[in-house]
């Protein structure tokens, strides 16, 4: 067990630093854009580190499902199962994206 700050807390501190101290100093459009992307990337990492076990399928389950679908043997309920899996990925990668479907 490491001392605090924990991994998500370190990521959060770095994200806040970029967002609040670096970003306002940047005039170059390209650097501003890349910094925003970096802030977003750290947000993803932070949410992943803080996430609990959820609806995501395991790597083995994914590989098996991919193999069966490509072979033309689509399991019953695959679409619903995959939608739940992808929604779980999005809660980490892009939570606001899901609001667009409400």
């Amino acid at each position: 067990m490491s001392d605090r700050p924990t991994a998500p807390e370190l990521v959060e501190a770095t994200r806040e630093f970029l967002e609040q101290e670096i970003l306002p100093t940047l005039a170059d459009r390209r650097l501003r854009f890349r910094t925003l992307v970096a802030v977003n990337a750290l947000g993803i990492a932070q949410r992943e580190l803080e996430s609990r076990a959820d609806d995501q399928l395991s790597p083995d389950e994914l590989a098996e499902l991919a193999r069966r679908i490509r072979a033309g043997d689509v399991p019953e309920g695959a679409l619903k199962l995959l939608k739940r899996h992808v929604a779980a990925k999005l809660r980490i990668a892009s939570p606001r994206y899901l609001e667009r479907y409400e």
Binding site: V74, A93, Y97
Partner: protein, 321 residues
Amino acid sequence: MVDAPDWAPELRQRLTELLGGPVELTSMRLLAGGASKEAWAVEAGGERLLVRRAAGGVIHADTLPLEHELQVLEAAHDAGVRVPRPVGYLGELGGREAFAMELVEGETIGRRIVTRPELGPARAELPRQLAEELAKVHAIPRDRVPFLGERDVLERFESELDSVGEPHPAIELGLRWLDDHRPEPLEPVVSHGDFRLGNVVVSERGLEYLLDWEFAHVGDPREDLAWPLVRAWRFGVDGLHLGGIGEPELYLERYAKLTGCDVAEEDLFWWEVLGNVKWAVGALTQSRRHLSGRERSVELAVLGRLAAEMEYELLDLLERA
């Protein structure tokens, strides 16, 4: 000149040859955007140029070499398509291919085009203008660009997905559905290959220029027609099916009037599903440019996670199919 790349002297030499007289480079600036190509704003001999130069690696295996991209741009220019004036091929600069064209002004950022109040009049014009430009692109004679390949739209995705080295059953499900529901093909045409907001320059008058010809190929006209309908290219204004700026009706009507090719909105559904597969696979392969070390970039890296957005949209479409 500060911050000039080490290939600036090569550029000066090539531009001197192209423009037919000694040229001084007075400024060079790397522009934002362009994940697969570098874009440099260059002032040389009183002209404002854009130098488009290869970056490390390509998105899809079949992007055009820059020499061919320039030839497509020249063919489009001759066909009256609104494109920046091509200036010439520059050969390799610092070991990477490049060409020069006119530097143009205007808005290219999709999110701004769909939201900025001052671009409201432009949004009203865009559906008709997009159709008009696309009709001109699709009328480019194939023998003007004989190097453009015609290939099966689905064939390449399985191998590209395999090259990612990670299972994506949602994309597999999309590919399966597409293969099971192939439409009757239409007569193939010269296609832009990335026809959407983000690749057009917009002013308050509307569409000014069509950019980014690296994905040009010969294909079914519905592939280009449907691409700006894909949710990712509505830039958050999801309710407006055509690029977040309008409904497809007027756009399709105008296209039909100019080309004689009458396509109904529902005929584009298959192509919209295809578009989501294409961009999901594209995002995954782009992130591999970073992960493989070919081109380290946080912008490319994060696309590996954002592919899930296209997967979700794909599944949502299939649910409604």
